[in-house]
């Protein structure tokens, strides 16, 4: 089976700073992979390689192959906007647009040129259902997205990402700004979403990595130190540094 995503000898530089040092990584479809490690270890940078968000940063150089469904996306002739339509992203802080709930979810569809009212309504409902938010907002779709709670906003952002039907979803610490109840709702959601999507999640919360992921990669100063099944990482890590990190003895 070809892995859904793969990197081969991925090197990334911010100017003179060598931020990712030869990462060889792969993840299969319909799995959740957690990226853990102390701040500044490169896990978020690594995540952003898959939708080329690092392009937005001045002086960022990426070498090596990044494959999605076997296709190398680290190619300067690639249409990056098209890539980003296929790779959804959820950010650290809930960031719905100051528009209505409906328009937030419809945003990506409209960008894609879908303006037919009926199609929009169908797809918006589907995305909101997938994000487990439909029941809570179905009577208030016209309400401003800023008026719902932080946890609901984050699920709205997930719905917004899902509406364009990506196959890969990147999540950058999606619950770091949420309260525990909202966090566990989002975690449950992630667990359910892997039926349809491949998910890559960066998290500072080790227990979150343990709860939601199938595989876990531990990053440290730009290197991927250990990458294995989550159960292995959390019960029997092979490398001492990983063990020290997950047991809270450093970092």
């Amino acid at each position: 089976m070809t892995p859904k995503i793969e990197t081969k000898n991925l090197q990334l530089y911010y100017g003179a700073h060598h931020a990712l040092k030869g990462i060889d990584f792969s993840a299969n479809a319909n799995t959740v992979t957690a990226l853990i490690g102390p701040s500044g270890c490169g896990k978020s940078t690594f995540l952003r390689c898959f939708n080329r968000m690092n392009d937005l940063i001045d002086g960022c150089e990426v070498e090596g192959q990044i494959l999605i469904d076997g296709m190398n996306i680290n190619d300067k002739y690639l249409n990056v906007d098209e890539l980003r339509k296929k790779v959804g992203m959820v950010f650290q802080k809930p960031n719905p647009f100051p528009k209505s709930i409906f328009e937030n979810v419809a945003y990506g569809l409209r960008i894609n040129g879908i303006n037919d009212k009926k199609t929009l309504e169908e797809k918006v409902e589907k995305a909101l259902r997938q994000a487990a938010l439909w029941e809570e907002v179905k009577d208030n779709l016209k309400k401003s997205a800023m008026s719902i709670s932080g946890g609901q906003q984050q699920r709205l952002c997930i719905a917004r990402a899902l509406a364009v039907e990506p196959s890969l979803v990147l999540m950058d610490e999606p619950t770091s700004a949420l309260d525990p109840i909202s966090t566990s709702k989002v975690e449950e959601l992630i667990y359910q979403l892997k039926e349809k999507y491949t998910i890559l999640i960066v998290t500072h919360n080790m227990q979150q990595a343990a709860r939601v992921s199938d595989r876990t990669a531990f990053f440290y100063i730009g290197e991927m130190i250990e990458y294995n099944d989550t159960t292995e990482i959390f019960t029997n890590p092979k490398i001492e540094r990983t063990q020290n990190y997950i047991t809270g003895r450093f970092g």
């Binding site: 566990s184 975690e187 449950e188 667990y191 227990q207 343990a210 709860r211 939601v212 989550t230 159960t231 959390f234 019960t235």
Partner: protein
């Protein structure tokens, strides 16, 4: 159902499976004893490997749940109880295998009269009933069923205690069969151990369901 609930449900299924597997081993061992069926005894010894493998698997499941989900309250008690029930069941499997080993070594069948006098069948069926109650209690989180087990254990203990005199008398009358009869006594002891293990399991179930610790409580029979 949440992710953790799904995992706990799987664990519950694993433990129930282990119960049934070990109960089968016990049934077969008694049957092989009563019929002197050595093939059946060999089958039990072979199947013991499966019991051991299952025990290791469940241990791993428990470890993973604790490591990955940090269960608390009833969920944590459930995992701890399952972990210990698992080990009790494995030892019960050992006892079944032990009985099968005696059967393999034996040259002749026991006197039917003696078996009847010892109430061996009764002892066995009570032990079996204890397992049934424990399975039901564990599956449904119903501690009232588990509480029935202690009284049955007393019945098993009584039969075991009475067996001492009966076998002693028999040995006096048949000194040439002393070893043979001592083996029988060992088998009865193993059955008695099965009863004890089921009582331990019942304690674990009560711990899980009612958060009540009965272990080492000298007065607990009065409380029930």
């Amino acid at each position: 159902m949440t992710h953790l609930e799904t995992e706990l449900d799987k664990l519950k299924g694993d433990i129930t499976g282990m119960f049934i597997l070990v109960q089968k081993q016990l049934n077969k061992s008694i049957q092989s004893l009563l019929t002197m069926d050595k093939d059946l005894a060999r089958e039990i010894i072979a199947a013991e490997k499966r019991v051991n493998a299952e025990e290791l698997k469940i241990d791993r499941v428990c470890e993973n749940i604790v490591a990955l989900f940090n269960p608390v309250a009833v969920d944590l008690r459930f995992v701890f109880a399952s972990f210990k029930i698992n080990s009790h069941l494995e030892r019960m499997g050992d006892n079944a295998k032990g009985i099968a080993r005696y059967v393999l070594e034996m040259s002749e069948k026991f006197d039917a009269d003696l078996i009847a006098k010892l109430q061996l069948q009764e002892m066995f069926s009570v032990a079996n009933k204890m397992i049934d109650e424990n399975i039901a209690a564990f599956e449904n989180g119903d501690s009232s069923k588990a509480r029935l087990v202690f009284e049955m254990d007393e019945r098993v203990d009584a039969i075991n205690f009475a067996a001492n005199n009966i076998v002693a008398d028999y040995i006096k009358a048949n000194t040439d069969k002393a070893i043979h009869l001592l083996n029988l006594m060992s088998i009865i002891r193993k059955l008695e151990r099965v009863g004890d293990l089921q009582a331990n399991i019942a304690e674990e179930i009560i711990f899980y369901v009612d958060a009540e610790v009965l272990k080492h409580d000298k007065n607990f029979h009065n409380k029930i």
